[in-house]
Structures are given as structure tokens and as C-alpha cells.
Amino acid sequence: MAERIEINPVTRIEGHAKISIFVDDAGKVQTAQFHIVEFRGFEKFCEGRPFYEMPGLMSRICGICPVSHILSSAKAGDAILGVNVPPAAEKQRRLMNYAQVLQSHALSFFHLSSPDFLLGMDSDPKNRNIFGVAALDEDFARRGIRIRQFGQRVIEVLGGKRIHPSWGVPGGVLKQLAVAERDELLAWIPEASKTMEIAIGRFKSMLDDFQEEIRHVGNFPSLYMGTVNEDGYMDFYDGRLRLADAEGNIVADGLKPWRYETFIAEASEEWSYMKFPYYKAMGYPTGMYRVGPLARCNVVHATGTALADKELREFRERRWVVRNESFLFHLARLIEMVHSVERMEELLTDPDILDEHIRGRADVNNNVGIGCTEAPRGTLFHHYEVDDNGLILKANLLIATAQNNLAMNKTIEQTAQHFVNPNKLSEGMLNRVEAAIRCYDPCLSCSTHAIGQMPLDIELIGPDGSQLDRIVRD
């Protein structure tokens, strides 16, 4: 008799989700689904609010990546105003975005995923956490805490507080950076650089131990999307979008982010609150694409900084230009952290960043504004439509985690098919399925912001696995 194995809740991710693994009559894994069981509703309840409030409102979507929402929202506001953001403000925004990438990636790698790497996928789950890492290697654990602290300190200095800073506004930012603040942040750079050298070296030295995971955890062809600047280098703040295929061929280039609706569409499935975006030209679900660290490393010509480019070349030389293995999201994440530290040093030593002119002002000049940045987890779009008084008529948020939804589902299906033996379940098998999701570092708080028809499917399962009751609303 066919049965279902449920992992609920999935641990060490941001938010709440469950995974269902469906087993066929022959006792083998047939398929798997990643269910998002959170529901929020930011797109709806911001209607009627003034657009200049949006960066502050949108930052509340998430306590891990508020900066990403502030930046995309502020950029959408820039477009509504129709102003050029002053250079100092743009540089502050770029610095803040790198700090966000650094602290978010640090949480993902050091706190959430490194226990799997350092202690092993099959190790005692009671110790498979940062305390287990600390018991094994105190210095590594301390460095993980400190590198995240650096990112958060940059956010605190620029924005006034670490979580939900009130700082980014349409037209610029609210606070000039002082010399003493700049100097304090610069003093962190040597330690951050050293930590990244240690972390990426440590992870690369472990890859040989995870060859089975590299081969069977989400290793499949897909499209990849990320932002590049005019020279094809990695750019987290501004540029054009590029799509590449699994062999590294550029499928589409120079895509204008504010025309995203012409090349991205969103499907929905009854079993998840999260949308399923896809590349329109290829249809659903063939147009599955991945975003985030692996995608960015796959689409860029180079990162544009010396140390990160050295790592990117090695990343690519291990096989071919494009890496399709989801497990390598972790390595791509580390490369981006190296890159972020390098770029932060460049920005902090640029005298322009101290300039007092930090905000461009105007009235409503456009009724539509679309802002796009690269968030830690991938490309993030904020799309607002306003009336002539600047009140929000409609908002649409296209979140990175949602853009990886199709790929995450395929990843857990492939992982479960290879690692899960339904006749002899072990905790390590299920941990690999969870670890497959953690490759993408999904932020479910962000990706369940929408409101609309709420599917509701509640199953009551008895101790023997039989269905006792079910309530369905569609």
C-alpha cells in the first residue's frame, strides 16, 4: 500500500515548512513535495499606504534579510520619484547590501549547515548544531559568530540598528556616514578576510567526503538567473539580468529588471502557499530556473574582485563553467562572502561614501516603480503601482526563495529517491533531505508574503498512518 513519510517541521531553515515523501506500492520513493505552511500577506495590507513608507514596512517581512527588502523597496521608490540617487547614498546602499549578504550567508554556512559538514550527516542529531561545532573547533565557531557580527555591525552603524533599520528611503538614505564610523568598520576587514580564507579552505578540503551528496542532492540541469553589470561582473545592487542554461550558454542577456513580467511568470500549486515562478519563454515547469549564490556564480563573467575570482576560477575548473550540483550552493555562498569582504573594503576606503549629500528629493513623477537587487538568496523584485498622491494601489513582490521553489522540489525528490529507504528509515536519511533544502537557504518568512485564495488541506493521520479525517477548502 502506498504511504507517505512526513518531515515536519524542517529544521535549520528560516521559517516553517514540511516535506512529504510519497512511497509507491513497491516500497520505493516515488516523489516528494516541499510544503510551505506559513501564510502572511504583506502585498495586501500595504495597499493604501504612502509609497515612501514602503521600505520601513517591507523590512518587517523578515528579521534575517530586512536590508534586501529595504533596498529593493527604496529602488522602487526611486523610480516613482524619478530621481538619481546621490553617489554617497548609492555607495552606502551597496555597502549595506554586502553586509547583508555577509551576515546572512554566515548564518547559513556557519550556524545552520556547518554542523552537517563538520560532524557528519549521520552524526548524533543532539550534537549536530553550533554547540557541536564549538566542541569540535572553538576557533571555527567563534569566527562564524564574529563574521556575522561584522555584517550586523555594518548594518547597525549605517542604519542605526541591526534588525529593521529605518535608513533606506526613496531617493537615497537618511544618515551620513561619519569618519569615525567608517574607521571602526574598516578595522574589521583583516579579521573578516582571514575568517573567509579559513572557512573556504576548510570547506574545499571536505568536499571529497561529500561526493555522494554532490552527485545526488539536486544535481540536475536548469536555467540560472542573476544580475550582472555592464561588463558581465557580479553586481548585487544594480545591472541587467542574465539567464544561462545548464551548459553555460547564455539564454537571455541584458534583461531589464523593471520588465520582469515579460520574461517571468508565476504558477501556483494547491499544496503550497509559495508561488512557482518560471522563465516564461519556456513555459511551466520547463522554465525552471535557479537564483542565488550558485546561479550568480554560474552566470557572471567574473566576480570582479581578486580573491573571489581566484576561488571562482577554481570552482569552475573542477568541472566546467556551470555547476549544476545544488550542494555547491554552499561553496558559491562562501565565494560570495569572500567577494563581499573585498567589496566592503573598497567601498569603505572610497572617500565618496562620506559625502553629506545622501538624498534626492522629488514628488511623484511615475505611477509605477520596480526595484530589483540581489538578495542573499537571489534576485528580489519589488513592484509598486501608486496613484497621483503616492498611495499604493498594488504591490507585487517576487522573492528569491519562491524563484527556487521548482528547483527545491526537484532537489528533495532526487535526494529522497537516492538516500531514503522507506523500509529502513534512519535519521541520517531524513537529515539529507532536509540538508537538500538547506542548500538553497530558503527564507520562508519572505516567500509567503502574498495574499489571495488560501488553499487549506488538513489531514488527520492516525498512529498507523491511516487517514482519519480531512478538511479541504479550495
Binding site: 528579521g63 548544531n129 564549538a134 567563534r142 541591526r162 529593521h164
Partner: protein, 143 residues
């Protein structure tokens, strides 16, 4: 040196009670520093590592009245995954494990009634905050 850390979201009514208590404690005695945070994070382990005493004030849905108590150093470190939520005991455990923190750790749990949107405490929790502030002031003045 004593460090007081107030935890909570001041836009969710009683969840911000610890911040209000901290405001009521001003001015702080000499040798005491304070920090108001939205949530506890692992980085605070580094922040508290050199202090003699740390007090973490937080709202607690299970508390019925302000409760100031010492955390037992012999407690086994908790084992959560350090995602969105980091319990006070984990910050203390990390400080002991990674930074050699040897000071006293205290926690003050405060009751809550309403966690809906808003920046004003409910009257009963405002009273509880005042009582907690008196209790904590006495604790701060103990050598």
C-alpha cells in the same frame, strides 16, 4: 561590570515590556551597561564574555508575574538550531563554551497579555513592568 539586555519587539505591545523596564531603570548604577535588542543573537555571547553579571530581561507567555532568577551554570547547554530564535540559555552557554565566560547569568521573565500590533503596554503589564523595575534595581545595587 554588569550588563543588562532587554529583549523584545516594541511594536507588538507587551512583547516590548523588557524595553520599557529598561527605560524605567534609567539612570543605571555605575558599573552597569545596558542593551536593548529585538531578539537574542549568538553575537551577544561575545558581548557579555567579560562581564561579572549579565541579566537578560524578556517577555514570556508562560510567566504569570515578574520572575528574577539565576541561571544554573551546571545546566546542560540547550541544543536548538540557532535559527530565528536563540533562547537566553543558549547565549549564556555559547559565552561559557567559546569565550570562557565565568560570570553570573540571571534572567527576568515578564508576563504578557496582548501581543497584537501596538506600542503601548496593557495596564496590567505596565504595572508588572514597574514591579520588575523595582526588583531589578535592588538586584543591580547588590554587590
Amino acid at each position: 561590570m554588569t550588563i543588562v539586555i532587554a529583549v523584545g519587539n516594541t511594536l507588538r505591545r507587551d512583547d516590548g515590556v523588557a524595553h520599557r523596564v529598561l527605560e524605567m531603570l534609567a539612570p543605571l548604577p555605575v558599573g552597569t551597561t545596558a542593551k536593548a535588542v529585538h531578539q537574542l543573537t549568538p553575537e551577544l555571547a561575545d558581548y557579555i564574555k567579560d562581564c561579572d553579571r549579565v541579566l537578560i530581561i524578556d517577555a514570556d507567555i508562560d510567566a504569570t508575574e515578574p520572575c528574577l532568577q539565576k541561571m544554573d551554570a551546571a545546566d546542560a547547554p540547550p541544543r536548538s538550531s540557532l535559527g530565528h530564535v536563540v533562547p537566553a540559555a543558549e547565549v549564556i552557554s555559547l559565552a561559557r563554551l567559546l569565550y570562557g565566560f565565568t560570570g553570573e547569568a540571571w534572567v527576568c521573565r515578564l508576563p504578557v497579555v496582548d501581543l497584537d500590533h501596538g506600542d503601548v503596554l496593557t495596564p496590567e503589564i505596565h504595572s508588572a513592568a514597574k514591579a520588575a523595575a523595582v526588583q531589578i534595581r535592588g538586584w543591580l545595587l547588590q554587590s
